[in-house]
Symmetry: C2
Subunit: 346 residues, 2 copies
Amino acid sequence: MDEKKLTDIAALGEFGLIDRLTKDIKLSQKSTVAGVGDDAAVMDTGGKKYTLVSTDLLIEGVHFDMSYTPLMHLGYKSAVVNFSDMAAMNGIPTQIVVGIGVSSKYTLEALEAFYAGIKKACDRYHVDFVGGDTTSSVHGLFISITVLGEVGKDKIAYRKGTKQGDILCVTGDLGGAYMGLLLLEREKKVFQANPDMQPEMAGKEYILERQLKPEARTDMIKKLSEKEVVPTAMIDISDGLASEALHIAKASGIGITIYEERIPIDQNTFDTAREFNLIPALAALNGGEDYELLFTVAQADYEKIKDLPGVSLIGYATDISEGNHLITPDNQVVELKAQGWDALKS
Amino acid sequence: MDEKKLTDIAALGEFGLIDRLTKDIKLSQKSTVAGVGDDAAVMDTGGKKYTLVSTDLLIEGVHFDMSYTPLMHLGYKSAVVNFSDMAAMNGIPTQIVVGIGVSSKYTLEALEAFYAGIKKACDRYHVDFVGGDTTSSVHGLFISITVLGEVGKDKIAYRKGTKQGDILCVTGDLGGAYMGLLLLEREKKVFQANPDMQPEMAGKEYILERQLKPEARTDMIKKLSEKEVVPTAMIDISDGLASEALHIAKASGIGITIYEERIPIDQNTFDTAREFNLIPALAALNGGEDYELLFTVAQADYEKIKDLPGVSLIGYATDISEGNHLITPDNQVVELKAQGWDALKS
């Protein structure tokens, strides 16, 4: 009767758990501008720009499957997804620190391939590899990546900041990484059933690359800067368009309406979704790991943004009382719900 | 015959592995002052002080044993050992980001205890908890801690910088954390053999606290600053005095001589070592996790440092050609060797 009731963490989900664990945090350092709750924390260390920091864990068997993830790609992706967090603040990455825990099944050559991938990403994004920690693990590979970045104080974009009437924009195209994952999972099963079967990957290079070797859209950060557009809010798409749009809506205290037919989907993604009997728009809305940027701009910036290559205008912000909606091609209005990945619910 | 030869990482050891993985790193960001190879990386983000960053992984079954590590203590220690890295640069910690991967055996209440420990450390050291990542793991608990800090540009202390004739100093006392660990391991075995036995911990509070709840010596950083002493080199003792002294010697290109009888050892540590039939000085030299500061000062600073409470003068720096030595109480000269913990050799 008096037994203390313990709470199963899976029931809370990742975001519920984070809310519980971080609810009573107080900030006391004057250099801290913004803490928990955005794509990166923000510090003012006295220079002209803000310093950004973000961290990510990648765990074998949870975030990647060694049976189809080449280690060099894994290194590249581990770095890039954190660079993407800097882009999500309208900033650029500058330094990276990498922790790895490895079990004895990994050889030096395997780890060198992983580090080669990280270094390749650092070269491409002009990021310095400045430190880390290397240790053993009991089971599998465990990666922790922390990235530092910088952003002009007048350019920073948080998740909050969207106002009613702002235009919702997204870079690139969506759903490809998720279809790449489904394809890899399918071919793994085929291979397990019959190791002599050749995988059917021809013509699927685009979606495979979206899954295995994504890019951070720092190129779009530069384009927005050239156009003198500062997003009113921004986030990167790691959990799916719907989930990220709801993060902006919640943080900004507004509602969001998205036009389904405006969601950018590559032909390769579209065709593969059809092959899997999936609605392509749902792959785009709920499939994660595209690492594109979702952002809002003020209506005053419409002329600057409307013809910017690589940007799609997919919706707009409403008063919070209107809720969050998806408008289907046949003009039905459905509630926008997050059904994206949730690492703690499987 | 043509089979590619693969290298077992355990044969390289932790430091050998880090050397191999980081050997061809190039730095390109002008904000990077110092990268891999010290207790923290150093950045100049344009303010009056340098920004420091350091990261650590803690893995269940490798770095801690859940059977005798209370989660609140583990959270506290996880934070403090990284704060200690900031002290090792003659700086102070300012922000922390925490990643955790947890398996389903952990409850919300367990994680709350862990976070309560981190928050307690943050309160004590005036550090802001600004972000993190929370995810599931397949096996056990994985913790990644990244700490940011700051240090005056004229006060930074690297591992390199010691000159011939400099005085080697250490804060506090050594070997206690290691004896605390041996005691906990012994009592675990006793308990496993006979769960009705009461653990024999009475009078051992000091060494248990040294192991389970260490502190970072940011207090000594302030004292050194008040005395206007800037160490010529500094490191914190996570792997044992001998190992850390050799890091300073190697980085600075000097030799180091330590007087065994000058090594500060608490009575509780001394008595417990005797109880375990160990030479107390060896526990101090090779036992890790004391998180005291080992540093060198110029002879010109001798008067300022010689009576500073909490600092022991234990040796001096020589020309590199003289090698690294320990002088025993009976005046024998023995080579100083690192036999400290090496997480990748077990």
